[in-house]
Symmetry: C2
Amino acid sequence: MSGSKKLAAPGLLKVCIVGSGNWGSAVSKLIGANIINAPEFDKTVKMYVFEEILDATFGENSGKKLTAVINTKHENVKYLKGHRLPDNIVAEPDLVVAAQDADYLIFVLPHQFIGKALDNLTGKIKPSAVGMSLVKGLYNPEKTNIRLLSTVITDKLKIPMGVLMGANVANEVADGLFCETTIAFKELKQGQIFKKLMQTPDFRITVIKDVTNAELCGALKNIVAFAAGVSDGVFGEKTNTKAAIIRLGLMEMMKFAEQFFPGGTPETFLQSCGIGDLVTSCFGGRNRKVGEAFAASPAKTLDDLSKEMLGGQQLQGARTAEEVNYFLSHKGKEKDFPLFTAVHQICKKEMAPNKLIDAIRQHPEHHHFRVSVHGFNDERSAAGKPVFIYKNLLQRLITTIVTCSHLATTLAKHLLGWEEGILYFGANEPLGQGIVSLHPDMVDAINTYIHSDKVKLNGPPLISIGQAINGTLN
Amino acid sequence: MSGSKKLAAPGLLKVCIVGSGNWGSAVSKLIGANIINAPEFDKTVKMYVFEEILDATFGENSGKKLTAVINTKHENVKYLKGHRLPDNIVAEPDLVVAAQDADYLIFVLPHQFIGKALDNLTGKIKPSAVGMSLVKGLYNPEKTNIRLLSTVITDKLKIPMGVLMGANVANEVADGLFCETTIAFKELKQGQIFKKLMQTPDFRITVIKDVTNAELCGALKNIVAFAAGVSDGVFGEKTNTKAAIIRLGLMEMMKFAEQFFPGGTPETFLQSCGIGDLVTSCFGGRNRKVGEAFAASPAKTLDDLSKEMLGGQQLQGARTAEEVNYFLSHKGKEKDFPLFTAVHQICKKEMAPNKLIDAIRQHPEHHHFRVSVHGFNDERSAAGKPVFIYKNLLQRLITTIVTCSHLATTLAKHLLGWEEGILYFGANEPLGQGIVSLHPDMVDAINTYIHSDKVKLNGPPLISIGQAINGTLN
């Protein structure tokens, strides 16, 4: 199932694009052109197209099947008008026929069609296939839980999955305008193969390993973009206020990822899938636009505006805000995410748009240190129990290592006095974590303690607590 | 000189605002109001005002001194028209008289007046005073070196300095619109005192310790904002391309800070002084605006546009790009910062604005792993030499700790084969660092090696190299 095994296999590797909307068609331009120069690949790329009969507005094509038009005129006249698709892109209306022989599957269907497509594909694709999802959004059929779409696909089809997420407006990519994107694969090598299929001089791809955070970025940024639109609608283009909303939104995205999907790396939020896409969405994009209109039109519901502005399509930011809110309220964590929570309440008309600022004025970002204390009982370490102190936000990144169990006790006592979360004990499990308030005097005291000869350090501290807990009291 | 000693001293603490332009006047509104409720402070706040006689355009105030108008009408009619300043803000035209008794000095002068002001103040202020700079920009009288203004002030006046930097348009702050900002002080306690003087329900302050990166953010973001303006001028409002420019600009800001001003923390770039201010500047702000006009008007020089659009004032982004370019070219590092370099060349008409994308198409961000290998010889560590492997970008954050000198040798050999920088040896000094290309196979090999029983780990690896080197090959 690894890339190198594939390369050694006889025959040519096949690619299938599952979906043919605006983004899928734009991506087919890249892949169709690149694959010509990739000798290990079959030159024909099948693209699954949900069959439609074109209506009277399509002139000479009216009454024809969309697949027939794509395969004869090499243009997706409905979803990517004016762009010639490469001749080796072959539209196929039968999903199973399109996908069954593929070694590489690229999922780029509208969110709501994924479930049915997976039902159809189960047991019908190559067991050795590898997939990549371009679909933005979360998956929470049970309301109280949230899953990543890539995980849902892996569970259903039993294939490894990566994602492509970035600051990419489909029409701009199709026009060949310069942009960046992020591919995330647990196996970097798989990501490199998809990069080879898609990168051009104007479509610059960085491959990372952190699928989870990349996918979360793609979904959560739509909530922030809606909030940015509300800011535009309420305050006009006041850049200070909007910048604060965008930044606090990013902080909530990072906190959400870290608390509920641990194991990712915070630098992912610095990739194109993170701040790149966030900036694009907060200044362009439909979520911002509808957010602005919603704030400026108190008489209208979101459904009204979706009908007027999106042809009835559900607004992704509002749906994601609702899914996230179900999840957060189930966990009792709504107040830790005041921006996410406010967006949901605004969408539901439970909060007036001009109250958004009141909701984030006392944001935890301005109030608290975030600290975790972990007890770590590792048999290979003879010197005692190391204690890891780090900011919750940048979990596993800013680390002070000491090996004195007395210090562990002292710190746990001091820090966990303000503890909000659950307290765990046991080898390699957190002693506790939560948002704590810590007076600067205490930071100084702990620092002095760490650097005193009372503490036997297992090597020098990499960073002192004063640096690690780089925050503030209100 | 510490805050607690000050609090114990007899008499009330005095604050002086050194400067009274647009931003200084806006800040005086916050301080004048807050200080009323701070019992340890003298209620009178002196504000140094560069004396001017108001001309005929000032109606009933024409012919009057600016200080006289401020002290009688409580309005800075020239630089913050329409806002009443608190009655306890007292304009003072003599810099030494204004500053000599102050315990807390807030520097908010135009960049070009700092040098002369420091000459005047040397030896004239309280030795126990503490200062904070709101001035954005770098300081490089020798062209080949770059210094932070806060460092220059400390060296000259021998007082500890912090900075306030954030996404703050002066008029929006004066209007009481919601925004965030960042105060950075090595001694958090000092920062807390300034926070107390300035925070309001609509001006939200986070105090951090990392003065260096906060100040660098305030200067370097103007280069990126100019590039964002060029993008607007060349491509119109194409959000994909602009998002890529902003993100790559942020990456260069972080790399510049890390390479030339080590010791800061990368999270500072996530504060208001970082992405907050960057976003504000790339969508609003004069650097963006002039960049756009410059790209759209090939016949005009930057001087022409400065005259037309800024009343002849020098554009901060262009000046900073020039200062940074002198410095980078002196170090032979221009090619590592293609966006910064391109902005300078565009400003100098050495590059056409529409070539900006060509300059960043092969950006190092899309090509390389950044890796450092440090040899660490610590007497307290009995187990051998720990080796620190981390991404250059997030120096000291992502760390693999192993204690096998054979591994150190192997890694140094593998990694430093592509080494670009200088190779150091010695206790607690880097073995070498630089941008290296690393094939995914090698990442796998190193990972396997680290986790094999050939390596004696001094505790479990916090993070494996595959996670640490979370990058890609082109």
